[in-house]
Amino acid sequence: MNKQLKTSTFFLMMLCCFTRLLGQDRVLVEAESFQQKGGWVIDQQSFPVLHSSYLMAHGMGRPVKDAKTYVRFPKKGTYQVWIRTKDWAPFPVGPGKFKVQVDGKPLAPTFGESGDSAWKWYSGGEVRVDKDSVELVLQDLTGFNGRVDAILFDATPKIEPPNELTALDKLRNELLGLRTNRKEMGNYDLVVVGGGVAGTCAAISAARLGMKVALIQDRPLLGGNNSSEIRVHLMGDLDKSYYPKLGRIVRELDNGDPGNGNPDAKEYGDARKFAIIKDEKNISLFINTHVFEAEAENNTIKAVIGRDIETNQEKRFTGTYFADCTGDGTLGFLAGADFRMGRESKQETGESFAPDKADDFTLGTSNLWASLPVDSATTFPETPWALPFSDEYHIDEEKSDWQWETGFGNFNTITEAEQIRDHNLRAIYGNWSYLKHHKPEKYAKRALAWVAYIGGKRESRRLMGDHILTQMDVQEGKVYPDATVTATWTIDLHFPDKKNSLYFPDEEFFAGTKHVRVAPYTIPYRCLYSRNIHNLFMAGRDISTTHVAFGSTRVMRTCGMMGEVVGMAAFVAKKYQTSPRGVYQKHLPEFMGMIKGEEGGVSVQPKYMQQ
């Protein structure tokens, strides 16, 4: 029985490999598609830059289990092997070392230690293939984030595969048949891109109003920054809302407050979020799908294309309305929506907290971490490639909190997301190594329990709507006719911690803030749809605000309520076959009735409450 099962599994795995076999003389294996990942993890955060996901050995300093796959070759013969990788911390040589085994034999080079931070193809030498199918193994040597994008076998000798992105895209498309195999995933009333708290709430809100919804998330979990992959707690009050019925879906998703970076993953309620979505028959959920292309005509989005971050299966979704809940404003950007990134000047916005000159400064990204006590003393490697610490400067903490943050205009939070995460890792590992080696009385019997490899992003693009929320809106609490979500968080604009800046100028990884308290205020609906893409809503941190106002709107309970509002607005738009703007211009009383919970006939209560 077992043997039969194993044989079937093997054939199934072999079948999976067929998609890679289109090139006659070349076989491309995407690392993220390895059949057995071992301890390696999939990272899609740099998709906008690399046009691919990759596999990473995130072992917190302990080598992870091998990743394995079987590769079917169209013909026997001699192949050049090329590994697409990088040295992620070339200071001077990084720790992400790994070996590649082909058919049980390791290739001669050790990869990931070139001293070069650019992603490129490295020669693995030559292999002789005498079988139809060959086992391919990635063997991590350090547990320190070695990474592999793809492996290419080429029967043509000594021709380096292209590193230039367009040529590389062509190669992938040709060898993986990406476009040829693209699947139609159906037509929806509302396509929500991004399954964080805002997107999940938007999808639920619309679905409960009877809309057919696609919810597309680029990670295996829902919740975004509140998922157990990132572990940021939910902030913003629900009980001060002008419209008490807003926030009910957020409450359902809320799993309690475990603080930031709690070492217990379960505290963040991944299962709760899935269970809620599963109950919604009008929602089709697509996890592990990164949207990278939008089809738009006359400033109207017709379809979005996503790629599975593991299998590379491309999927096309068509819809009437779309919601950008990506945080990065990815969909808006792809569709040509107006957006801003960085800080506006004081002259432009009239805000007292704005800088004199506009610049690229954004709040940073956190990779949280936590240690736990262990029974006996443990060791941790020296980390010469990490940020250096000494008795003069180190962070004497057993776990992280929000202050562990990189960005601040030193790095672009979208195009340099990988560098930001890696800088955070260099800070975390360097500091931890210092604590383990130099403060054994406190840290010998503690071990890293969890380090996030997915960055918790605060700020990137803001998509511009018919209204741009400003500091004055926030502080003066003006209630517009289309006032919807009530926000309560302070204007919380992070900046590099002064001491951290002194020791790591332009390389800061630790933040400070000054909370400017605000009275509860409302966010106009006009901040929740694009001013130039006719069928695009926004919810979450990418809504239409200035940088300063964003400092207050960005927290997740508030973002979740935006999602609830977008779901209702999409419902009204569909009912009258109008645009998001049309809802404001022609149907505001009815829409506001829903927001206030006055509108009869339609319930946004969850099933169990309806029963």
Partner: protein
Amino acid sequence: MIGKRLYVIMILIGISVAHLSAQQREETFTIAGTGADGTDKLVLQYDSSGFPSVFFQDIFTPVCLDNVCKPVRIKLFWDLLGNYIQYEVPLDEPLTKLDHQEFTPADYEKLQQILANDESLLKQLKMEELMDSTTQRLSDSVDAVTGATKNTVKGEVIEGALYTCYTLWHLVHGQVVDEIHQVMQTKLDEQMLHRFLKSTNFHYVHFALDEVMDKQGMVQKGFLPDVLAVLESNHIFAARRVAQEINLRYFTAGSEQEKLWVIFTRSAYSQQVVLLRRMTGLTLDTRLVEEIANYLPKLNQALFKQGVSLLAHQENLSPPIQEKLMAYLKSTDQQKAQVVYQAMNGKNQLTDTAKKQLNAYRKQQNQL
């Protein structure tokens, strides 16, 4: 009297002061305007060689709450610059919390962390914010805190000993620090600065660098060897400071450049980046130029670029060195080839061979 008591010395947390014994010389200073609880006396202790070692105060003060006073006997230590080091408490007079509960070992450890944090929230906290709103009396419970965010304060104090933490923190970081500075102004001499530069205490090193190195990076006579020793020391941030600030005038001679290069080869990566950048301001000795050219293969891409740039900045690069660099144009590593081309193309005093090789590289690139 001090030596006879048994103290809980906070060696648990790895902080050490000079071993105290009755034989060591002490000098006592009186602080004007302070109480008779011990805060009016500041003692400077000397080490066995007769050099100032550490300051301390032996404090016996009542901490009164709600008309109930609990005596706190504690000895506080500072270094010679007024930086807090540690505390000691007599074994038979432990610190207590609400309801006279004795401090646990974890509480003692936490107290050390609280007192060592010179940016503690306690700095901002005002006495009236410790008032219990219901009783209008000072409280030892964090729950009484008003004004500042309660949860934030909670992480920075010992629950049940809020007022004790507050009182001690302000003693440690209060008027006494200015007094120490004043005393030290009378004690500071060249000998002490030499000792500071060689110290394991990074505060001393930075303080001495402030004293002996000016804004142009010129070093007071007699201190250069000590300053160069800092460049090589484990004080990584002070070493970086010297690398960034020291005047290049000290490295005009070949022998000094040679020493600097040796330091470079032993330094951590981040320091190497700074040193190579600084060295571009030097006219290098021919022997060192050759040494650096030979070292290039050991450098990663970023340092290689810096190293090539450093060589390209030099006048009169010898034909053999030019030849060594030109060899990279034929390298399979395209990035290195490009770095060399960009650094060397158009440079004066190139040999005809080097010019031809650069031209050939350019043509080859144009054809691609």
